[in-house]
């Protein structure tokens, strides 16, 4: 038995998200398991670092698999990329120590969110950003982001209340203007269900003046989802990197 770590890129547009579902082959995990099973010759479970929602993309999702023995990683990865659809690519495959688990061993994650601020949406980037042409005050957004960085109970920033713990640490939020788009990067220990998209919706509402920057503090304190901003669309979100050490 040998454990391998995979780094996976995908365009989430066509998919119902990462997590395998019973009656559909429209999930990333489902397609990876079917394809890896075909090459291995026996069923293989693919354990992702976490679930991504339908429509969310990844530049560096990670997953662990256990194979019955040693394989040549390069050959295996190339064979796999041949049968995967072109919007899912395995970028890297590494032999890791037995028992490695992509979710349980993850130490941190980095996400990025892209906002198209042009008056008219960019036709060719439309699946990879959220169109939001309402004039954004970046300084106000940065002030709000400052209140969100740190170890907090983020229960006001999730749409699922049954997590064991809603405490997470955000190490950094970087807001960067790039010509006609804005990139927001989130780096932290981990993120709750919908958390990055609700953080983004909240920062956007601060950017337009609909919310004051220090409302970020009261949302954290109250822990009420309805105080936070809208759920920013999935299409603008990318899982960029998962950290293990």
């Amino acid at each position: 038995m040998r454990t391998y770590k995979m780094t996976i890129i995908y365009d989430g547009t066509r998919y119902q998200g990462w997590q395998r579902q019973k009656n559909t082959d429209q999930t990333i995990q489902g397609i990876l398991e079917a394809s890896i099973g075909k090459i291995a010759g026996y069923p293989v479970e693919v354990n992702g670092s976490g679930r991504t929602d339908g429509g969310v993309h990844a530049k560096g999702q990670t997953a662990s698999i256990t194979l019955s023995g040693r394989v040549d990683e390069t050959t295996f990865r190339e064979e796999l990329n041949k049968i995967l659809p072109e919007d899912i690519r395995v970028k890297e495959m590494l032999l890791v120590k037995n028992g490695f688990h992509a979710r349980q061993n993850a130490k941190g994650k980095r996400y990025e969110y892209f906002i198209d601020t042009r008056e008219k949406p960019d036709v060719f980037a439309r699946k990879y950003c959220c169109h939001y042409p309402y004039g954004l005050n970046i300084a106000a957004m940065e002030e709000a982001a400052g209140y969100l960085i740190g170890k907090h109970d983020f229960s006001g920033f999730t749409d699922k209340k049954d997590e064991k713990s809603t405490i997470r640490t955000i190490y950094d939020i970087i807001i960067e203007k790039q010509d006609s788009r804005i990139r927001i990067e989130y780096y932290g220990t981990g993120f709750l269900y919908h958390m990055v998209r609700i953080l983004t919706g909240t920062l956007l509402e601060v950017g337009t003046g609909e919310k004051k920057p220090d409302e970020a503090i009261s949302i954290l304190e109250a822990g009420k989802r309805e105080y936070a901003g809208f759920l920013a669309p999935a299409r603008g979100l990318f899982l960029k990197e998962v950290y293990y050490t």
Copy 2:
């Protein structure tokens, strides 16, 4: 009766090309005519500057339409964009002198073609470039491009032989390296069926050394399609601008 000129952006991925077909709504012209007819309240013919093949994109296709009277261009365009699919956008609508025809009055066109030279294709750009990771000698490609610039009989660079004339003038071909991609821009009076894609396939074969740069001259002289390079895929091609003055 009033004539208007429209500038149109589209992502050609989902479509069978510009030209209206009998039993499909999967053409850009067909969708524009149906949508404009809905707003005008009567059938309107949309005359494009030229046809683009299935899968080819446009950043600045132009078309002329004739409406029964004067309309407010901004309102009309905004109403139209509301009912058009999100991969077709009318960027500009201008009142022009009666009788203006987007194809007949066109004086020149600019196309661009994008080549992804990375070893592994860029998952998020895959619909907007041709993946060609074979090592390209740009200087050789520029030499070949130099032979193609000018007024020539381009019958070796088309897949359709029944044009009235196969003589065209290419004003310029610019080959530009941008990080991991190459952009080739073609500017000329007009281009024959498949001409930009065959020119690109030929330049790519010069880039890999499969063809010598001066074979461009013999292809022009012989006028034989089979001497030219492969038909580069539609997905890398953009109609960038159409010139009228």
